[in-house]
Each structure stands twice: as C-alpha cells, then as structure tokens.
C-alpha cells in the first residue's frame, strides 16, 4: 500500500490548486453574494479540460482517472463550493452516465461536446415527491411513434438553467417485480431548447448560491426515440450507478470545503491575539485544530480510496465501489459540517461576517450532507452492504 501520490497526480493537484487560487478564489465572495453563475470561470475550466477529466481522449476528454477528477473538485471547493459542484454535477451526473450507458452515436453527439466543455451537463432525478425514493416518481414518458413524450417536473436541479444537456429519469411504464406492480423507470437525454422543456422556480439557497438550482418542467416535451439512454426500464440502475460515482464528487467537494476552512482557521489563530497571545497558543485551540485536521485527513483518505476503487472498476467491472463511495460521502460531509462550524467558532465574531468566508463555507458544507443521498441514505447503503 502506497499513500504517496504519483508525480502525475501531484502535478495535477498543483495545477488545480493554482487555477483555484488565481481564477476561482477572487470571485468566490461575489458569486455567493450575487448568486451569479460563474460562466467565465466555467469557460476557462472548459479551455483547460476540467470538464472532461475522466473521459477517454477519443471522446474529447483528458483520459485521466477518477482520482484526478476528485482532486480537481477538492481543490476548487477549497476556495468555492459553488464551482466545485458545477464540475461535479456536470461530470459525475451527466457525462458519466452517457459515457457508461450511451450508444456510440449518443457518445459522439453528446459526450464529445460535454467532455470538451462546449456544453454543460445536468441530471434530473429528484421530484417534489420523489428524491431518494425513486418509486415516488411522477414524471412520465410515453412512446408515441418515433418520439418519447415527457410530462412532469424535476426539482433542485444543479446547473439547472445553465446546462445544455440533461439526463432525465421518467416512468416509462409498469412492470411486475416479485408479484408487485412497480414503476418502470427509464433514462433519457433532453437538450435545452426542446419544445415543451422549460424552467420553473430558481431556488434561493442557503449555500452553493451561484450554482443555478432550478425546477425543470416538461409539458408534452417530445424527444427522439433515440434519446433513450441505456435500455428501457433500466433507469433505476442507471440512476444508482450514477449516484455511486456522484457521491465521490460530492465527497471531494465536502473534503475541499473542510480543507479550506481548516486552512483559514490555522492562519487566523496564528494572528488573532487575546489576553496577550495568539489564540493558537491556547491549548484548547490547539486540541480543536488537531481534531479538525485529523478528521479532514481521514476524510481525504476515504475519498481518494473511493476514487481509486472507481478507477479499478473502470478496468474490471466486477469491482464494486458503491460502499466506499457512500462511506467517503457520509464521512467527508459530516467532517465538512463539523470543521466549518468550528472554523466559524474560532474566528469568533469575525467568523460570522461574510468577508471572512468561513461562514460561507459553513453554509456550503450543509448541502453535502443532503444532496446525492442524505447522510441517512449513505448509512442505509453502507449497512445494506454489510448485511447482504
């Protein structure tokens, strides 16, 4: 077992760090304040291949492994949680299912421009009455000649109005499973601009405020028959596969947020003086910092392990990484919440002020315990793996 990053990975990390410091960090406060989607940053990331990191070169990607991708999300999130999730939702939730389940024609049509960053991707599974419980899904897809007709809505969709290509899940019929009638779920690719596909409410969020979270509305939205992704009725499996990978992205986002807050706190306690000495010289501060750093490091090891396991899966599909991804997401998200909360505490009154940024990190951290499967769902996934 080797805990040393390869030279390539170490250099990739320095690239992401350099980019994040120069291009992302200076805009983080403004993006949060104005809720403005950082389109210019996304265009720069596209230029340097950040939107197609784990995609093979023949499809316009960078041909790198999931670890490189996770490090990218980590470093971006260290300075801006919004930018981290834009890359994560695009790559894990839209690029990955098209890369994994798409036909060659679909890959040429959508994967290539997505990987090159010419187009941005999003993923629509959640509905007002169905998040984790996919059987509660109401959006319907009916085959009419050579077209599927979609009706329904999706909510809380990251990259909502800014994306060009959407992977959408809908009920395409009913099937009998173990004597019970169940909803048959299928996956589709829908392009922005398709008649009948519009946007509803923009969500006014606590954190990741620049990430463009919208409701998607489908009213007699007709898409070509060939936009079915994977086999009909396999939508649930596609969604679960996608979320397994997505959890690594969100775990990396949570990890980055925790690391960012920890870095800020270390800098601050060295400078802030109370009772004649820097607050970092008080044993309580030192012990708290030690705990924050230890947990953040443990989260990093879990995230990297899950990413490397996904890399193994890409070489050998018999390898499973779902449990590792769930553990990484569960732990990193909870560590992010704990570390950012303490970071605010150790900044005292200044921690509550926006320009000190740790309060933003605390607001950004909270969502990592909720989206792409709440912490409770991660515990269900992990225990199901243990008890099977």
């Amino acid at each position: 077992m080797d805990f040393q990053l390869s030279k390539e990975h170490a250099m990739a990390r320095s690239l992401f760090k350099d980019f994040a410091e120069k291009e992302v960090k200076p805009r983080a406060i403004e993006v949060d304040e104005t809720e403005e989607f950082p389109r210019d940053t996304v265009e720069k990331m596209a230029k340097y291949g950040f939107l197609g990191i784990p995609v093979p070169k023949e499809y316009g990607g960078q041909g790198c492994d999931p670890l490189t991708y996770a490090m990218c999300v980590e470093e971006l999130s260290k300075v801006c949680g919004t930018t981290g999730v834009i890359v994560s939702a695009h790559t894990s939730l839209c690029v990955d299912p098209i890369m994994t389940f798409g036909t060659e024609e679909q890959k040429q049509k959508w994967l290539v421009p997505l990987a090159k960053g010419e187009k941005l991707g999003a993923f629509g599974l959640t509905e007002p009455g169905a998040g984790t419980d996919a059987q509660g899904m109401q959006t319907k897809a009916v085959l009419d000649g050579d077209e599927w007709v979609l009706n329904g809505s999706k909510c809380f969709i990251t990259n909502g109005k800014e994306a060009d290509v959407y992977v959408i899940f809908a009920v395409s019929g009913k099937v009998e499973k173990r004597g019970k009638m169940m909803k048959e779920i299928s996956a589709y690719v829908v392009e922005k601009g398709t008649p009948g596909f519009t946007f509803g409410t923009k969500e006014n969020k606590m954190g990741i405020r620049g990430s463009s979270t919208y409701e998607l509305i489908f009213q007699d939205c007709r898409i070509p028959k060939d936009n079915l992704l994977g086999q009909r009725g396999k939508g649930f499996n596609i969604a679960m596969h996608t979320l397994d990978g997505g959890r690594i992205g969100i775990a990396a986002q949570a990890l980055g947020i925790a690391e960012g807050a920890l870095e800020r706190t270390v800098e601050y306690v060295k400078e802030r003086k109370q009772f004649g000495k820097a607050i970092g010289q008080f044993q309580n501060t030192q012990f708290q910092l030690a705990d924050m750093a230890t947990k953040t490091k443990a989260a990093q090891l879990l995230v990297y392990q899950a990413a490397m396991k996904k890399g193994e899966y890409q070489k050998d599909p018999k390898v499973s990484y779902g449990m590792e991804a769930a553990m990484a997401k569960l732990y990193a998200a909870e560590v992010a919440m704990e570390v950012t909360t303490k970071a605010v505490q150790y900044h005292g009154g200044y921690g509550y002020i926006r320009e000190y940024e740790v309060e933003r990190m605390m607001r950004d951290a909270k969502i990592t315990e909720i989206y792409e499967g709440t912490s409770e769902v991660q515990r269900m996934v992990i225990s199901a793996g243990l008890l099977k």
């Binding site: 250099m11 690239l15 340097y48």
Partner: protein, 262 residues
Amino acid sequence: MKIVVCVKQVPDTKGGVKFKPDGTLDRGAMLAIMNPDDKAGLEAALKIKKENPGTEVTVVTMGLPKADDVLREALAMGADKAVLVTDRVLGGADTWATSQTLAGAIRNLEYDLVITGRQAIDGDTAQVGPQISERLDLPLVSYAEEIKIEGDSVVVKRQFEDRYHMLKVKMPCLITALAELGEDMYMTPGGIFDAYQTEVTVCGRKDLKDVTDDNLGLNGSPTKIAKASDRVAKGAGEKVVPDSPKEAVDYIVGKLAEKHVI
C-alpha cells in the same frame, strides 16, 4: 517554425526565502517553480504555436536531474520536446558558464527563434539571455512585452524606462521575455499524464557543441561569491513629533550633520 525556450527551475520565494548556515540558498527547503519570466516566454511561444500551425516548441533547461519537473510542466502546457542539460561538471556555473552551456545545447537544435526569460528570480542578473545571443551570434531584443510573427521576422514591443520601442527583427533571433509577454496559461490534466510519457532528451558535457571545458561549471565561472547574507532588516527608526516646521528642519539638519551627510 521552430522555437527554443530556455526555462529555469527556481525556488518559490512566495513561501519565504530559506538560507543554509553558510548564507547560500537552501534550495532543498523551498518549493521549486518555473521561473516566472521564463514561463511568460513559454506562454508566448505556445501562443505563436497556436496561431501558426506546424510550429514546434522545444524547452531547454540546465540544472539538477530534478529540473526534469519543470520540463514536464512545460510539456503539459503544450511544448513538443524537452531537453535537460545536467552534468556534475556543469554545477556552480555563473551566467558566463550557464550561457556557454545552454548555447552548447542549443547548437544541436534547429531554431528560428530562441526565447528566454528576462531574468530569474533567484539570481536576478538578466545576463543569460543576452549572453546566449552573443554565443550563438543572434540578434537580440530584450525586455519584450509583445511579439508578433510577420513572415520571416518578429515584431517586438520592447519596454523601455519611459517609452517602448517597436522593432522588427529578422529570424533567427533571440528575445528575452518580460512577465507581460505571457498570458496566464495552465497545463491540462491529460497533458500532465502525457508529459510523463514523453521522452526528455538528457544531455551531459559530452553532448555540448563547440564549448571548451574552461568555460564550464564552477571552474569556468569568473564570478566568485565571497559572501552571501540575508538582507539586514531595517530597524523601526526614530519617531519625532516636532512642534513647528523650524524645529523639524533643525532636527533633520542636525541628524544629517551628525551622520556626516552634510
């Protein structure tokens, strides 16, 4: 078109400068980066490559074997080839010996344009680029802040103290780059992995062309460092609040006389 860019691995001074007890730079204790002016030169070369398809960019560095890192970075940014000049006998070189060495390596390469950074942040001499041009008998334009290829010539905007000069130079020539010449350019993730698959040409003393031993390494360096020391920090000074301008003038004049300035 073929462009050779000289790059140097230098200690990153952002995290503070660290010295050994003898006063010399403790390079091992500092992170290493590509010298910023050299990076600007590389960025300019890569921009020319983008605008002029078929252009080949070769990066050359002289240094310890670990200077390989800076070449990989250049390859990951889009350079085509890389040459590492490394040999124990080349160690301890001053600008004279360094330019002899680099010129000896560049003589083995084809080039229309050679670009170096104006100066490195560790030595700050700004001598190596101009010296290479002398050794290779190339026209030199230093302090370039903009360059444009026009046929077989380069049009260079050269920075001057209170103005700039526009010069048109026929290639082959050598240009030294200011930071302004570059546009922030990054590696690509895939480029990094490819860079480590690319073969770097490693040269030693025997591969240098038309260079004599007495011009190389520490022995070939006319510059001898007698002593190196950290900059002495200025004291806090003396704060005086005089009651009138006359009192202030008297005080300053008195101090200047005391120090024999006037």
